[in-house]
């Protein structure tokens, strides 16, 4: 029965639709710039991780720690780049 009804994927699909709707709502609701950006950043990251885990099967092979390790390394590097740039150009210029 579980083969006919892939629960994880369907929940993931519904959840990704909800995340998309939440991101879209930023356009229709009268949020301040800061509030809107927070919603967008949070939904974007959750959405990306969701896709990675549920639909790109990141955690399903034996070497899943390699895949997760690389993903988190890349996220860490991206954050360092972004916050370093902010430090240089905004907070300490």
């Amino acid at each position: 029965m579980s083969e006919l009804f892939p629960r994880k994927q369907i929940i993931g699909f519904v959840f990704s639709l909800v995340l998309t709707a939440a991101a879209l709502a930023v356009y229709f609701l009268k949020l301040s710039f800061a509030q809107g950006m927070v919603v967008l950043v949070v939904t974007a990251f959750v959405q990306a991780l969701l896709q990675l885990v549920v639909f790109m099967h990141a955690g399903e092979s034996e070497d899943k720690w390699v895949i997760y390790g690389k993903v988190f390394f890349m996220i860490a590097m991206a954050l360092i780049t972004v916050f370093g740039t902010l430090l240089i150009f905004l907070w300490d210029m």
């Binding site: 360092i80 370093g84 430090l87 150009f89 300490d92």
Partner: protein, 648 residues
Amino acid sequence: MEFFERFAIPNPSLAIYASMVAIGLTVVAIIAGLTYFKKWGYLWREWLTTVDHKRIGIMYLLSALIMLFRGGVDAIMLRAQLAVPDNKLLDPQHYNEVFSTHGVIMVMFMAMPFIFAFMNYVVPLQIGARDVAFPRLNALSFWLFFFGAMLFNISFVIGGSPDAGWTSYFPLAGNDFSQHVGTNYYMIAIQISGIGSLMTGINMITTIMKMRAPGMTLMKMPMFTWSVLVTNLIIVTVFPVITVALAMGTMDRLFGTHFFATTNGGMDMLWANLFWVWGHPEVYILILPAFGIYSEIISTFAGRNLYGYKSMVASMVIISALSCMVWAHHFFTMGQGAVANSFFSITTMMIAVPTGVKIFNWLFTLWKGKIRFTVPMLYSLGFIPLFVIGGMTGVMLAMSAADYQYHNTMFLVAHFHNTIIPGVVFAMLAGLTYYWPKMFGFMLNERIGKWSFWTLTIGFCLAFFPMYITGLDGQARRMYTYSEATGYGPLNMVSFVGAGVMAISFALIVYNVYYSVRYSPRNIGADPWDARSLEWATHTPVPEYNFAVEPQVASSEGFWDAKKKGHALFPGKVEKIHMPNNSGVPFIMGAIFFVLGFSLVFSLWIPAILSLIGILACMALRSFEQDHGRYISVKEIEETETKLRGAK
């Protein structure tokens, strides 16, 4: 005729016209030679369509040597111009173009393909694999690199070379200040070859993660393979940044956007920022494989296993993480405050710690070893003290307060040449000599090799140590001349002499190849250096399937175990081997990329759109193509093996 005017060179000189004639004659000679000797079919079947990692590695190697020559000629021109005060050899525009192309060619089109050559040739052999994980993608990487390099190289005879430095800072690189097409070449040629590098990064990580021989856990990989793994992680991390920055710069120049403009909300400093977010890790992309090669060579010729394997791995991983946190030290003087500068100052100094660990590990490997002073070992031994000097001056530059004094002086130029030449170039020449017998089946002459090592080292010291002094005295980099009253004249003359001695060294290397092709003995066996790791366990020349039987290892020195401890390296039986088919698509796709790049440089939209369609067609073709590779039968393998054993 208006259409053709855009291809004219903005600042022609006799030297450029002479180069045009020389390029034309060379092309005619190559075409005539290939036709006369009926080698077109051979070239196409064996090289242009190959997906064999060994042949791709050799093509990278040849490209790198040609680019070393081109970049070296640029360097000689620069040093000749600065040799005496108020020199008129090059005009300022020409000087700008020469130092810009010198930098780009040496970093992007000489050092990068050189390390890719060794990655491609050595890594699959070292981990006991038949090929890389994605052989056809590997061919595409090479052809993108190659055509990117060719596009960049024609700039000086068609339309003019980039003249805003290898860093190509905006707003200088924008349309207002760089009006001819040179900077378009910079943006697009580096983009094309950069995409190739990114693909290589993915390919190598997958190869090392998925295709290691049985028994080879991550901590039992040879040190060069480890360095390549870490390097490619950095490539995949930072190359997207330069891809995006170059795309934005291209749009600024071609489509009138204002990403890096000083008006309409643009931010010119953001280019410098993005460039160095990629640019600083890039120098570690170059140096880490060099460290890997030194590790292999030092342990082979000291006759000992590598000291501190785990700390070597740990220090490389730490270097890779730190390398992405230091980029702002390239522009301490740009106007950010003390907090930001202090942060980047401290992270920069921290890199000296893992690098120091590696230096000590090499010294301890040498300790009580039976050292053989072969040519590769001489380069490695020369590297250690010279690189330490370069590293020490790097720590001086890392102090942001002091950097205001050194910034953009010859001191900086001396520093980074002092790390890159003994670090990367020595490693590449050491690797070239070390792996030459594996690649071509004969050794390079040791006597001529030693001459070239000593001329290179002495020439290097003569050329770059005086720059530390003139830099501290205030000589700025990228200035095309200086007055006699500054007193820089004599030391710059010494530098010029040093550059000449380095050119002699290059000539000796070329002569060494010629001499060894003619006179070197061919019966050298598969292991001429008495080496330790797996790449020496197969035959010379290496058969296309690398290993007839998959090797089984128990340590990072599987071959040494087999020689000295009776380890059974090849326990299995010969079975049929699955190999990938050759394909012309990567070459054709690279050529279309060349047309696309050329059309974009000159804003020729119709050919650009057509070639874009061609690229998509190639990708679609690949998607629908049924290609399951081919099998080499057991009989064929046994015949090859018998023949190669006989050749020993």
